[in-house]
């Protein structure tokens, strides 16, 4: 049943796409750009699933499939010098914020051409030149790091903003509390985006979280709060733009709760005994990609031929990245202790 993951105020289907639409989303190029980003994330992740099954990817991989509209919608409003902090499920955020695709793919392969030179892997993709302060293997670690980036902006008297992505499972970590209180006290330019995908690993949110409307958590800090259908790109753009504008203008932080659903397992290979196939299939009816395709068609911005064309382009891009990664070398063993410090350390073994 789909209603397990939609708050009461979201309707099933495409009806909810009829929210006030930002000017630029009547613009074909803006719209297609967003569509390409959605596609790019989807294709990247599906490609990883296939590669993982073939044993080409070390470690474990958490895919963002089903949640693409959140990262793309939010990041559409960002400048390159804005920051995002991310989670263990970070490829989508990184792509939406503009990470180099080859570097990202090579990183997930553990190659020396990876954006983190193979040191981090899937759970630690980052691109500081694009303001991507890192995916992070510790749940909700990004919240306090985001607060620090916000403090840095305020101290430097810049007008950047920080987006802090975190999950519905992460919301119960103490760091969320400490970060939100501080950002609110100091009116820091931080937007907390809670990706409410209904699960934390194999555990339904209901078992572990005391409130069903997560946005009430923001109220406790005197913060603005917003709830949004996270599968509806246009709505995410709108809602997050308000929050981002407020942050940029010095009005302080907002908590945005974006309802969504994780189509895949917690990690690639997860047997998913904790939920029914029906539930997953039902959720796919609200695939953010389909919803946005519907939107584009409805507004006469694109048709299915166009979709096919874009899909081909994106596929090529991703395949090129795979080629790049596959042809790259692994880092050399003797470099294993590089980058521990900025300078050499004597006396260590």
């Amino acid at each position: 049943m789909v209603d397990i993951w939609l708050s009461d105020d979201h309707e099933l289907g495409i009806a909810s796409l009829e929210v006030p639409v930002a000017v630029d989303f009547k613009d074909i190029e803006t719209s297609l750009e967003a569509y390409r980003k959605l596609l790019l994330i989807r294709t990247f992740e599906e490609t990883l699933e296939a590669l993982f099954a073939k044993g080409k990817i070390p470690g474990f991989v958490h895919t963002y499939i089903g949640q693409e509209a959140i990262a793309v919608g939010v990041c559409t409003n960002l400048r390159t010098d804005d920051y995002v902090t991310s989670t263990h499920r970070g490829h989508g955020h990184a792509i939406a914020k503009g990470i180099d695709l080859n570097g990202l793919m090579a990183e997930v392969f553990g190659k020396v051409t990876g954006i983190c030179k193979g040191r981090g892997g899937s759970m630690h993709v980052a691109d500081f030149s694009k303001g991507i302060l890192g995916a992070n293997g510790i749940v909700a670690a990004g919240t306090v790091i985001a607060a620090g980036a916000g403090l840095s902006i305020q101290t430097r008297e810049e007008d950047q903003v920080v987006i802090c992505f975190f999950g519905d499972g992460g919301i119960n970590k103490g760091t969320v509390h400490e970060a939100m209180n501080f950002c609110s006290v100091k009116k820091l330019p931080v937007v907390f985006v809670c990706e409410n995908n209904q699960y934390a690993q194999f555990t339904s949110r209901k078992l572990t979280t005391s409130v069903s409307d997560l946005s009430v958590r923001g109220v406790a800090y005197g913060m603005s709060t917003e709830s949004v259908d996270g599968n509806n790109l246009v709505e995410v753009v709108e809602v997050s733009r308000r929050a981002i504008d407020n942050a940029r203008e010095g009005l302080g932080p907002t908590l945005v709760v974006a309802d969504t659903y994780r189509f895949g397992g917690h990690y690639v290979g997860d047997p998913q005994a904790y939920r029914s196939e029906d539930e997953v299939n039902e959720s796919r009816r609200r695939d953010p990609l389909l919803l946005f395709e519907n939107y584009l068609e409805l507004h006469g911005l694109a048709d299915s031929d166009r979709f096919e064309l874009e899909k081909e382009t994106i596929s090529k891009l991703v395949n090129k990245a795979v080629m790049f990664a596959e042809q790259s070398d692994y880092p050399e063993a003797h470099t294993a202790t590089d980058y521990v410090f900025t300078d050499l350390i004597e006396g260590r073994q």
Partner: protein
């Protein structure tokens, strides 16, 4: 004897304790589904959600509530799937669990077990691959257990749950799935008693957890390829530390290599090496060497990971430096 996995062996110990004593409960994230390493499989089904609790992602709460429960009548087993997550609960482990008995003048005991998986497993990356036993063993008031095989895993966990003090039970990821002979019956393996995993006369390999396995492999190679007969001392628990067994072995072989997967620098091996050197001063034929990880976060990329963390070949090399200087 039947062969079962390390993880399964811990399930047996836990189930036995839970059957015997209603106050034993398990708390942790996603343990109802069996745990990342199968180490809780079937327990929810047998004991129900009041004794097998799926907790919020709140590590401080998980450990802190274990302390609160332990001093009010329960014997909680608090599980954090990766040892790195203990860092979000260090106040509760170091400032609370470890100190409660002492700072309240012996009024209470704190019978709890902290379970966590440590060590390297196939590119888990820099936040899911480490070994922190040096932190826990430095802290007075904590016992620290690090089994190397399924049979010990079962017996030591049973003792840890029995124990009236907080015990940090560290299960290395690489060996969690490995199988070995495990008695069917319920039994306990005492904390603080090292086992001589292999007797030998030329050099003592002092080790624990996964490195015991590597040391045994190394011993095989040393014998076959270098005619060196190594003794392997598996500590099993670091606190209490069975230093007598260590000293006895080294007094006999006059050579020691201390091995663990954790970083060498400031690692628990330094404690062992220092004690050997102090107590057997003048009796050693070679310097005590240490084998451990190089000082870097554990990288994701397979060749880097392998370069950082020691296995049997590094042990062999160290022994050769000791026996043929």
């Amino acid at each position: 004897m039947r062969s079962i996995s390390f993880g399964q062996a811990t399930v047996e110990a836990t189930a036995a304790a839970m059957r015997e004593d209603d106050t034993v409960v398990i708390t942790g994230e996603d343990i109802g589904w069996g745990g990342n390493f199968g180490q809780f499989k079937g327990l929810l089904e047998e004991f129900g959600p009041k004794r097998v609790l799926d907790m919020p992602i709140s590590e401080a709460l998980i450990l802190g509530s274990a302390v609160g429960a332990a001093v009010t009548g329960l014997r909680p087993i608090a599980s954090l799937s990766f040892v790195e997550f203990t860092m979000g609960a260090m106040d509760e482990i170091v400032n609370q669990a470890a100190k409660f008995r002492y700072m309240f003048g012996g009024q209470v005991s704190v019978p709890m077990v902290v379970r966590a998986s440590d060590g390297v497993l196939r590119s888990s990356g820099p936040q899911h691959s480490e070994s922190f036993e040096a932190f826990f063993s430095h802290m007075p008031g904590l016992k620290v257990v690090a089994p190397s095989n399924p049979a010990d895993a079962k017996g030591l966990l049973r003792s840890a749950i029995d124990d009236d003090d907080p015990v940090v039970y560290l299960e290395n990821k690489k060996i969690t799935f490995r199988r070995g002979p495990v008695p069917e019956e319920d039994y306990r393996t005492a904390l603080g008693q090292a086992s001589i995993a292999r007797t030998g006369s030329d050099v003592s390999l002092i080790t624990y957890s996964v490195m015991t396995q590597h040391a045994l492999e190394a011993a095989q190679v040393l014998l076959e390829e270098h005619s060196v007969d190594a003794e392997v001392v598996d500590l099993r628990s670091l606190v209490p530390l069975d230093i007598d067994s260590v000293l006895r072995s080294v007094a006999k072989t006059r050579r020691a290599v201390v091995c663990h997967e954790a970083w060498t620098f400031g690692g628990f091996g330094a404690e062992i090496a220092s004690q050997i050197n102090e107590h057997l001063f003048g009796e050693l034929a070679a310097p005590v060497l240490r084998v451990g990880a190089q000082s870097a976060p554990i990288a994701f990329s397979p060749p880097l990971e392998r370069a950082l963390v020691p296995e049997a070949s590094e042990v062999v090399q160290a022994v050769l430096r000791t026996v043929k200087p």
